[in-house]
């Protein structure tokens, strides 16, 4: 019903736009860019003052507004930039490109009023927040590394996956339900070193947007959120070098024009040097000499503008973590990491229709190689995507902004595969039992202003997924023994799913400074991350929907009140949400992950739900700025095959979650920042006691043991000071001094039982122990730009 309602709405809208074109309207369109770097300003606002109609620049800086002919004052605004104001006499279609200039600190106080923005209350979108990477660089950082994913965790509804971790949960969804995109390419494992650092090198990035609710139809494939991160395009005006030397890593980014005004490049690298720093202290005679760990990232982007209408972008990411262990008679290495590649072609058909065609490649793989005497062992897993997308944006008039497009992905999943050899005997399986799948989607959405009060964003996405052969499916009998093997031939259909995903958000403007918004979001997800821990480990495996594993499904309802204060100086919102989740997976009780079985045989299936209320207050501009976010939420899961069907709190359940982020620009030289976080303790499981079989004590877990206990509440204060020893339009040198966990709180990272002694010796004891991982950690980073 709801679905057909939206369809009808669409047809009405499109009719309206077609008939609207009969009038002699004129279009003003163009690109908005940074004057110094030539980077597109995603989200910049272009407004015709007289009629208060406008448009927002897309990812590539393009905007388009169609209105009646006439004389207008046009303003182009972007936070942190000087507003540009022009008077134009619109008699025919006009191309107006903007190059905005960044503000310096004295100007900031003066122009606050000019920077007024009521986007918070005026836009129909909900649960969407964009961050400019430059804005977060003066916040306190962990071990000197600016990390966009950790900053996102400070927003309401988005929770950290754990101490110092870049992994995150959105509104009760698991870490696999976040679509993390780098220049549109899916990043399957966005963490280095178990998530303590994200793979995103801030120097290479331009901006990030998170959508935690009301996901528009242009996005799909994940249930809970979209994190869309764009790399810098490369300075098209002049050569620059940006970099930094930090506590654990160094960075260097080079960018500049290749052919001025036509093409530019960006090349960026980051590498940790824990291994190099510690090497001199490891005795070369020691058993562990040669052991070490490091990670690195490489980002690159090239773009070429053929004409005003055609531009191509080529970008890529490559990163690896590598851990090496050398023991006396046992050694191993495990490398893991992501690779992404993006080719984009922007084409402007005319001043109202914009097309972005994208070809993408994503790869994540993990391997573990071990050797002991004459025994060699290798374990590997991974996922690889080939992805094609066409996204159209159509600006028929000042009321509608229509997007439509299609997407096709070919997935290859490598399950955890073990191979080995002992002397001359090889244990490798005859073939690697990979899983292959097609995924496709089409969508259409319209951002439509019905009248001054009511605005909609309505859309529908239709997605389909098919697992195809070759594949060997091991069928288990009720004892869990493999009783049959079904071999599928290449290309043969194994499982096929398809579903409509309606998306709808609406805004009702109450008055100049407040509005009410509501949204309904249905999403499907055809992939699952098989994880035992809740935070993403490199060993976690991506598993597609199959005959046994049904697609994950989510329905999200949200309602919010949005209000700005003091002439838009403060933005605030209150959002209430309810989310239901179907076809969630967990490992069956006692799963021990036998080799070379189908991992899906070890899953059980259930459902989940999450609901909560989120408060957000933000001061956008001025020398003193920042935000406060608070979330109260409940998240549960229920599986028929776990604890006799009794529901339990999810690992992602967090009752209270508070973040306070403040920045103060004291002078040209000094900027201060602070972050305070408070969160209810995470849910965790403990055994209820133990029992003896064969004189060995084993832990006894009750049927309803899952997540029955809570860690103590988590809280922490970080502070930072940034000193600019030089800051001009072209040169910059700054020092960031950060203290993580200033008051040195021993937050519980986890609790476990340890057993000591033995029954025979009469001294068997069990102790509960808490582990805290990060005490106060000071860090200094030097950043430069020239």
């Amino acid at each position: 019903m709801r679905f057909s309602f939206i369809l009808i709405l669409f047809i009405l809208l499109i009719n309206k736009t077609v008939s609207g074109q009969a009038n002699s309207k004129v279009t003003i369109s163009g690109f908005v860019k940074d004057k110094n770097t030539g980077e597109a300003l995603f989200g910049a606002g272009i407004v015709l003052i007289e009629i208060n109609k406008g448009s927002t620049a897309n990812e590539f800086g393009f905007y388009s507004i169609t209105v009646n002919p006439g004389k207008y004052v046009v303003t182009a605004t972007y936070l942190g930039y000087q507003t540009q104001k022009d008077t134009i006499d619109l008699t025919k279609d006009v191309r107006l490109n903007y190059k905005l200039q960044t503000l310096n600190i004295e100007q900031k106080e003066v122009v606050i009023t000019a920077e007024r923005s009521n986007d918070n209350t005026r836009k129909s979108e909900m649960g969407t927040i964009s961050l400019s990477i430059d804005k977060i660089k003066t916040l306190p950082v962990f071990m000197g590394e600016v990390d966009i994913l950790k900053t996102l965790q400070l927003l309401p509804g988005i929770q950290s996956a754990g101490e110092g971790n870049s992994g995150f949960y959105v509104r009760g969804g698991g870490p696999d339900q976040n679509l993390v995109l780098l220049d549109d390419a899916v990043v399957y494992n966005p963490g280095h070193l178990f998530g303590f650092f994200s793979i995103f090198n801030s120097d290479a990035l331009n901006n990030a947007t998170i959508i935690k609710g009301g996901m528009p139809a242009e996005y799909g494939g994940r249930l809970s959120s979209v994190v869309n991160i764009n790399m810098k395009e490369g300075n098209s005006e002049r050569f620059t070098a940006t970099g930094g030397v930090g506590l654990i890593a160094s960075r260097l980014t080079l960018e500049g024009p290749i052919q001025k005004g036509k093409s530019s490049f960006m090349l960026s690298g980051r590498r940790t040097y824990i291994d190099i720093l510690t090497k001199p202290f490891v005795n070369p005679e020691s058993n562990f000499a040669g052991s070490g760990y490091f990670f690195y990232d490489l980002n690159t982007k090239l773009n070429y503008q053929f004409s005003e209408k055609d531009r191509i972008y080529l970008s890529g990411y490559f990163g690896r973590d590598k851990f090496t262990f050398k023991g006396e008679n046992f050694d191993f290495t495990f490398p893991w990491g992501n690779t992404t590649a993006t080719f984009r072609w922007n084409h402007l058909f005319n001043n109202k229709l914009f097309l972005n065609t994208t070809a993408l490649f994503s790869d994540y793989n993990f391997s573990f190689n071990a050797g002991q005497n004459n025994f060699d062992f290798k374990l590997f897993s991974g996922v690889r995507d080939y992805n094609l997308k066409a996204d159209f944006e159509y600006f028929p008039n000042s009321r509608n902004q229509i997007k439509f497009g299609l997407n096709y992905i070919f997935h290859v999943f490598t399950p955890s595969t073990a191979t080995g050899s002992s002397g001359d005997v090889d244990f490798s399986p005859e073939k690697i039992n990979k899983q292959y799948a097609n995924e496709a989607a089409i969508y259409i959405q319209d951002d439509f202003e019905l009248n001054k009060r009511i605005k909609f964003n309505a859309g529908i996405r239709y997605s389909a997924f098919q697992q195809i052969g070759p594949y060997d499916r091991f069928v288990e009998n009720i004892n869990g023994e493999i009783s049959d093997t079904i071999s599928y031939k290449p290309g043969k259909n194994i499982a096929f799913y398809h579903a409509p995903e309606p998306r709808f958000t609406a805004r009702y403007q109450l008055n100049e400074f407040s509005s009410i918004k509501g949204s309904f979001t249905r999403t499907f997800q055809y992939l699952n991350l098989a994880s035992t821990t809740g935070s993403t480990l490199p060993t976690d495996i991506w598993v597609p929907s199959s005959q046994l594993v049904k697609p994950q499904k989510s329905t999200l309802y949200a309602v919010g009140y949005f209000r700005n204060f003091l002439k838009d100086l403060f933005e605030s919102s209150v959002e209430v949400y309810y989310k239901s989740l179907q076809n969630q997976i967990e490992f069956e009780e006692g799963a021990t992950f036998g080799f070379n079985n189908n991992i899906e045989n070890e899953f059980v299936f259930g459902k989940g739900e999450s609901y909560g209320i989120e408060f957000f207050l933000k001061k956008r501009t001025g020398k003193f700025n920042g935000w406060v976010g608070y979330t109260l939420s409940y998240t549960t899961r229920q599986f028929d095959d776990l604890q006799e069907g009794k529901s339990f709190y999810a690992k992602y359940d967090r009752r209270h979650d508070l973040s306070v982020v403040l920045q103060y620009e004291l002078s040209k030289k000094w900027t201060f920042g602070s972050i305070f976080v408070f969160g209810s303790g995470s849910a965790f499981s403990l055994p209820a006691g133990y029992f003896f079989v064969g004189n060995t004590p084993s832990f006894y877990f009750e049927n309803d043991y899952r997540n029955k206990y809570r860690l103590t509440p988590y809280h922490r204060l970080d502070i930072s000071a940034t000193y600019y020893s030089k800051k001009t339009a072209t040169r910059e040198s700054s020092w960031n001094f950060s203290f993580y966990n200033v008051y040195n709180r021993y937050n519980q990272y986890l609790i476990y039982f340890s057993q000591e002694g033995s029954l025979e010796e009469g001294n068997l004891t069990t102790k509960a122990r808490q582990v805290s991982i990060f005490p106060i950690i000071p860090a200094v980073t030097w950043n430069y730009k020239f």
Binding site: L193, F194, F323, F325, F332, F334, F368, L379, A418, G420, S422, G423, V425, F427, E481, T533, L537, P538, T539, E589, G590, T592, G594, F595, N596, L686, P687, A688, G689, Y690, F691, F692, V693, G694, T696, S698, Y700, F701, Y705, Y709, Y746, Y749, I751, Y752, S754, Q755, L759, G762, N763, L764, T765, A768, R769, Q770, V771, S772, I773, F774, P775, I777
Partner: protein, 282 residues
């Protein structure tokens, strides 16, 4: 797989500053379960030990355990229409044994226990033994006087064979195992190959620690018991040993031990044995 444990090592190396301390916790008291440790072996009398699970209580020794023994239970086993009630030999220790039923290859044994106002049941079958092709020892490189025990297994080309290896030295009473004693044939199905079997963990000497762990010495008389076990029996030991190997490892996920006991916990497990004796260095 112990990969997770290696990660932990790495995490801890990284978090040099990590800190651990003892804490006290209010543990929610659990309902008491009957723990079965029942063994069915070819040619031997059937036996069962019955106990209850313990809460976390300070230091424990064998005396502390006494209240957790299940005495005076009615324990019966049925096989091929024959029923026997097992006898508790000593009133102080809950060891029940059959004097009429002996394990036979291919036979199924149905256990029933009545105690604590509960009735619990379990079933197991003794499978066919799969003997080893050979058993031999090799001197360890750079460790004179220490030997490794090797076996040659010719795994039948049918998936679904599960094994358990146990050893004892001539002067020892009971068989003992390594920290990991059970094997499945997923990776090795249909293959013929040599692999090492470690000496029992009871031989782990505090003074030499893991440097000499698992090896045998010149002059040792090794008794090796190589058994074919059922999938359920494998699952039990696999989960027990996996839990044991992650004991004290704070990062391991909770692992509930699999059991084939209806209404209780523990194992009613069968062994189809092949026995070998080898004297080291002769």
């Amino acid at each position: 797989m112990k990969i997770r444990e290696y990660f932990i090592l790495l995490t801890l190396t990284f978090a040099i500053s990590s800190c651990e301390r003892d804490i006290s916790l209010d543990i929610i008291q659990s309902e008491q379960q009957i723990v079965v440790e029942g063994i069915v072996e070819q040619g031997r009398q059937l036996s069962v030990i019955l106990s209850r699970n313990l809460p976390f209580i300070g230091v424990i020794d064998t005396a502390t355990l006494t209240p957790y023994f299940v005495n005076n239970a009615i324990v019966t086993v049925e096989s091929d229409g024959k029923i026997d009630t097992l006898k508790q030999i000593s009133p102080d220790f809950p060891f029940y044994i059959s004097f009429t039923l002996f394990g036979e290859i291919g036979k199924t044994y149905n256990l029933k226990v009545e105690a604590d106002n509960k009735i619990i049941t379990a079933t197991t079958t003794i499978l066919n033994p799969i003997p080893l092709d050979s058993v031999f020892v090799k001197e360890v490189e750079n460790k004179p006087g220490l030997y490794e025990l090797f076996v040659t297994l010719n795994d039948p080309n049918v998936l679904g064979n599960y094994y358990r290896a146990m050893t004892k030295l001539g002067n020892q009473q009971n068989y003992d195992t390594d920290f990991q004693s059970v094997y499945e044939d997923n990776l090795i199905n249909g293959k013929k190959f040599d692999f090492a079997i470690n000496a029992g963990k009871g031989n782990l000497d505090d003074s030499t620690g893991f440097d000499e762990y698992g090896y045998f010495q010149e002059g040792d008389t090794i008794d090796l018991r190589w058994s074919v076990i059922t999938k359920e029996h494998f699952d039990f030991w696999q989960t027990v040993e996996r839990q044991g190997s992650s004991a004290g490892n704070p990062f391991s996920a909770p692992l509930k031990i699999k059991s084939n006991i209806n209404g209780g916990i523990g194992i009613w497990g069968s062994y189809a044995n092949s026995n070998y004796r080898i004297i080291v260095g002769k």
